[in-house]
């Protein structure tokens, strides 16, 4: 057995693993149908919002193509931004949120009984779909941001122009307006999901175009007709694998690494590697290197907003920083071990332990069906059970169940 051989097999096994964790394109299509329908309702002829030309688009893992199947029977969490043509002078955060809420809860709205909780969340209205699609859709009311402050900080215009203002009911200015401009601290009502998605896709541009080109050839259609969500690049697969590893290892722990930090660092460290195994071993150390410490303050910068620090919570709870580095170390050590002969022999149990029984099992089943069948090491000596006399020990254990 050699490292090279193990590496080749690992690439395939990791691909299979990522496939079992992946959310299929059909679910993306379903999600798109859902939020487009909400968009049509919000912008309908008789809607009070129609005058503001509402636009609806997805953000987060469904926009980046990094969504993973939930661990247990949890639902898919789809975030969509609802952008209205208004300014901060025309409407307060409260009013903006309420307008969208009114339309969703309108007597003839099919969503009026699906809003949970009824008074809305911190930043969004959540539509709970009762059917078995297992979705819930978060709609975030927003307005465009004047973005000169971003270009002044050095962000490219084609990314900055998508900057938006969201509502956040925990800000002191929620009822009366918006947080003031010109502050040096990050303003939680400012965001740029479209810009972030554009940055993310640029980080994996070479592999993304390659994958779409290949799919287009397979289907004998034009590459323009392929949606981004129909393909996965090694970067997306690495992020999916890392997210699930995190889910299993830190299930229930409040200090677990958060997805936006994992995604941002991985995309920053990724250099269009083609092989999954190679990608993990380049990306994980790279993630470590891109975590900044500015004079004692942990900083993971938002690549499309230099004022925003994704790791601000690490400074409130230093344990979060510890956990993050501990996790990176663990992943790197595990993967280095995996390619050795000793490590590779137990790849099956490693995958089940670190990624969940189902994902690990399925990946290994696919691998095994390509490799040899189970091997019997020691043959039986008899086919009937003997019944040797067994002496019970002083006091045997009492059976239990959890």
């Amino acid at each position: 057995m050699s490292e090279t051989l193990n590496r080749l097999q690992l690439n395939q096994i990791l691909r299979d693993l990522a496939d079992t964790l992946d959310v299929p394109p059909s679910k993306y299509r379903e999600a798109k149908d859902h939020y487009k329908a909400v968009g049509d309702w919000l912008g309908g002829e008789d809607s009070e919002l129609a005058a503001f030309s509402p636009e609806i688009y997805v953000q987060g893992s469904f926009s980046l193509g990094t969504a993973v199947r939930p661990l247990s029977e949890d639902e898919y969490d789809v975030d969509a931004v609802c952008l209205l043509e208004l300014t901060t002078n025309q409407v307060t955060q409260l009013e903006l949120k309420a307008m969208v809420g009114r339309r969703l809860k309108h007597p003839s709205s099919r969503y009026r009984n699906k809003i949970e909780p009824k008074e809305g969340g911190r930043r969004c209205w959540t539509i709970q779909y009762a059917d078995d699609s297992k979705f819930h859709l978060d709609i975030l009311p927003s307005i465009p941001d004047h973005y000169q402050w971003l270009t002044h900080l050095g962000v490219q215009a084609d990314i900055a122009e998508h900057a938006i203002r969201l509502t956040d009911n925990k800000t002191p200015e929620y009822q009366t307006g918006w947080p003031a401009d010109g502050q040096s601290r990050h303003d939680p009502t400012r965001s740029n999901p479209k810009g972030y998605t554009k940055w993310f896709k640029d980080r994996m541009r070479v592999r993304l175009d390659e994958a779409k080109g290949a799919l287009a050839m397979d289907r004998r259609i034009s590459v323009e007709d392929i949606e981004d969500y129909e393909v996965r690049t090694p970067l997306q697969r690495v992020i999916q694998i890392l997210k699930r590893h995190r889910d299993v290892r830190y299930n229930g722990d409040n200090n677990k690494p958060i997805s936006v930090i994992i995604t941002t660092l991985a995309a920053t460290a990724y250099d269009n590697e083609a092989d999954l195994y190679e990608a993990v071993l380049k990306v994980v150390p790279g993630m470590r290197q891109h975590i900044e410490n500015r004079g004692g303050v942990w900083w993971v910068k938002n690549p499309v907003n230099p004022l925003e620090n994704f790791a601000d919570k690490w400074n409130e709870s230093p344990r979060k920083a510890e956990v993050f580095f501990e996790w990176l170390d663990a992943v790197e050590a595990e993967y280095r071990h995996l390619v050795t002969d000793k490590g590779f022999q137990s790849v099956g149990s490693y995958l089940s332990e670190s990624y969940g029984e189902r994902a690990g099992g399925e990946a290994m089943t696919k691998y095994a069906s390509r490799a040899a069948a189970p091997i019997v090491i020691v043959p039986r000596k008899a086919s009937e059970a003997a019944t040797p006399k067994i002496e019970p020990s002083r006091s045997p254990s009492k059976p239990w169940s959890c």
Partner: protein, 254 residues
């Protein structure tokens, strides 16, 4: 799996097959080693003599023999409601720390089969044929675990939880007073019992069990001196939550 582990398992199969010749060692598609086949016994306990056999599957963990194997019954002879883990169907031979403790006495497959698996199978045969449990059993869930520890330490609920806290926090000063309030120093009282359990279970695992028992006591409205039995990490979380609430109250007053 480590080459050394494979060698240990193959060597131990000798003893296994001399008493249970129908058992074989296989390696499945996941690379996992298992001992499978029929295991039979003739056992005499308290006037009950039972001769029986079951089809079992013993899975060897990668860090064997540091940790004991898990075992399942593969012929559906034992129903799911008789002491089996709900997700895997594995046979629940006893309280987890107890299984490890007993296994650590010999660390061999034959001892595991004869001292832990067969008594379990004998128990089930007794229930099936005579309607009673020969060695008793533990109730389901945290309450069963609590009963195990109460029995093991030979004291009441609150001192038992305090002793568990020593294991969860990995803090048991031998010259300090024993948590059972006997007035003796720990080293002369329950200290040796803690020493028996401690090597077989990490503090995090004791902590997880203790947390579940505290949650159960809260649900049942059983009064506990929480600050004396909560594991250190849970205390810290409670303190930080209280501090947050106080800060929030101050902010709201402003």
């Amino acid at each position: 799996m480590h080459q050394g582990v494979i060698e240990v398992v193959i060597a131990q199969m000798d003893d296994v097959q001399s008493e249970h010749p129908g058992l074989e060692l296989v390696r499945d598609a996941h690379g996992q080693f298992c001992v499978r086949g029929p295991v039979g016994f003739r056992m005499d306990y308290g006037g009950l003599v039972i001769e029986d056999s079951y089809e079992i599957d013993i899975v060897i963990p990668d860090n064997y023999p540091e940790l004991p194997p898990t075992v399942n019954e593969t012929d559906n002879a034992i129903p799911n409601d008789f002491h089996r883990f709900p997700s895997s169907g594995n046979l629940c031979l006893g309280a987890p720390v107890e299984i490890r403790r007993r296994f650590a006495e010999h660390k061999t497959l034959i001892a595991f089969i004869n001292d832990q698996v067969i008594p379990y199978l004998f128990s089930f045969s007794c229930v099936r044929d005579h309607g009673r449990l020969p060695f008793g059993d533990l109730k389901h869930g945290s309450i069963g675990l609590l009963d195990y520890y109460i029995d093991f330490f030979g004291t009441d609920i609150v001192p038992t939880l305090k002793l568990l806290k020593c294991l969860a926090d990995n803090f048991a000063p031998p010259l300090g007073p024993c948590p059972c309030a006997s007035g003796q120093q720990l080293k002369d009282c329950h200290g040796p019992k803690l020493d028996v359990l401690r090597p077989h279970y990490q503090p995090e695992l004791f902590e997880a069990e203790l947390r579940c028992m505290i949650e159960l006591a809260r649900k049942e409205k059983f009064p506990l001196p929480e600050w004396d039995v909560m594991p250190m990490r849970m205390l810290k979380q409670k303190q930080s939550r209280l501090r947050k609430q106080q800060r929030a109250k101050k902010r709201n007053r402003k």
